[in-house]
């Protein structure tokens, strides 16, 4: 069984598609891959906050309260709002201003990150992040019938929290009809196709400190995503280290005791939401968030902890009797 394997730059990162055999009537995998690549390029062009001509930037600068929006923008905003709802406001899509204040103004694609070890040594005391009590994201309304988005003018939206996962999920919908496939948008991954149930994909998890593969996941469906501090980390003009995962309550980079989280989910968006929410919650909250679908927590020390279904090992245990024969 052969698979079409294509790799390209996209969304400030990389994208990769593996597409198996088509069902009768479906386009050849190469043609499907090219269409998917064009879709991802279009997705990025419309939804990047770094491209002044994007529809997202137009929404963010529009002085009207209700703004006409394409289906793709409405999907992206809805995904961001669902991520916020699911995470209780921890994955907040309205922190565009704060992240720019932290120093993340332009795309950091290709820019090497600052050393994470040094940043951890100078980071403030660890504590879990909290939602912003203002919950500005609740002011957004998506109206599919009218084809518009309403929000108070001046409140900006950032699709960064769920963008790559959403792109992977939307491409996956277009690949139904292929024996199996995997869509990797910058490490946010969606897997599907009946063939994957028989022959699961192996997905390597990169360790944020060493870059080594820390685990191998064998996945037959659903999504997997990783959030971490090892990329998009920089030293600001004030000399302090900063990164792109902000504590919504303070608008400052969150240092929670975790440096990376890999989460599984039914979709890539769900996995991405869970991984970010877990990282922002710290170890205790992260365990709770990953309990249902499973995942990996990487602590500041580099220790990797398996959570939820990934921590379960089959076992058979017979009744134990106390020494001396008493039960």
């Amino acid at each position: 069984m052969s698979e079409h394997d294509v790799l390209f730059d996209a969304m400030g990162s990389h994208a990769r598609l593996l597409i198996g055999d088509p069902e009768p009537g479906m386009a050849p995998p190469a043609a499907a891959a090219e269409r998917a690549r064009q879709f991802i390029a279009d997705f990025d062009a419309k939804l990047s906050r770094f491209k002044p001509g994007s529809e997202l930037c137009a929404l963010n600068t529009d002085p009207r309260r209700r703004v006409p929006a394409s289906e793709l923008l409405r999907q992206a905003v809805r995904a961001g709002l669902q991520a916020a709802e699911r995470s209780g406001g921890l994955v907040d899509p309205t922190l565009a201003e704060e992240i720019e204040s932290a120093g993340y103004v332009g795309s950091r694609a290709g820019v090497p990150g600052a050393p994470l070890g040094a940043a951890l040594a100078e980071a403030p005391p660890r504590r879990p992040a909290s939602p912003n009590p203002k919950a500005r994201w609740r002011q957004f309304e998506v109206d599919d019938e009218a084809g518009s988005i309403a929000r108070p003018p001046g409140v900006r939206f950032d699709t960064g929290g769920a963008g790559k996962g959403l792109a992977a999920d939307l491409v996956a919908e277009r690949l139904r009809g292929y024996s199996r496939f995997i869509v990797d948008c910058g490490g946010d991954i969606r897997i599907g196709g009946p063939g994957a149930l028989v022959r699961p994909y192996e997905v390597f998890v990169e360790h944020p400190l060493t870059g080594d593969r820390s685990h191998v996941l064998r996945l037959s469906s659903g999504g997997v995503a990783t959030s971490g501090l090892n990329v998009r980390i920089w030293r600001g003009p004030d000399g302090r280290y900063a990164h792109h995962l902000l504590d919504p309550a303070t608008g400052e980079p969150a240092w929670t005791g975790l440096i990376g989280v890999t989460a599984l989910g039914d979709t890539a968006v769900e996995a991405e939401t869970l991984s970010k929410a877990a990282l922002l919650s710290g170890a205790d909250g992260g365990r709770e968030i990953l309990a249902e679908h499973g995942g990996l927590l990487v602590h500041d020390s580099g220790e990797v902890e398996r959570v939820g279904p990934l921590s379960v090992r089959p076992r058979i245990r017979l009744p134990q009797t106390a020494p001396g024969g008493a039960a």
């Binding site: 394997d5 080594d212 593969r213 820390s214 996941l217 037959s220």
Partner: protein, 101 residues
Amino acid sequence: MTKRPRRPSFAPVFWSSISLFAVLFALLAYQLSSGNDPSLGAAAGGTASRPVLVRRIVKRRIVTTVVPNPGASSVSSGPVTTSSAPVVSSSGSAPITTSAS
């Protein structure tokens, strides 16, 4: 002329099966009643009981295996190219990697 072994009669086979079943059933019933459900893992050494989260499984979705791989060689953090042109390669040429991006 060789004699074929006699086929065992029905009653001993039946009753020994029933007895074996009863013994195993009683063993498991005893274990469950003493609070040591084997599917729940080891008891916490007599400490206070942990809160149990009851979850309804809507869909058993995924077959997942985690293989610790500490000795593996370093993996490039996902295939990175300097050009935006797509690169088509033969299947399975590089591992799929999830990493922060």
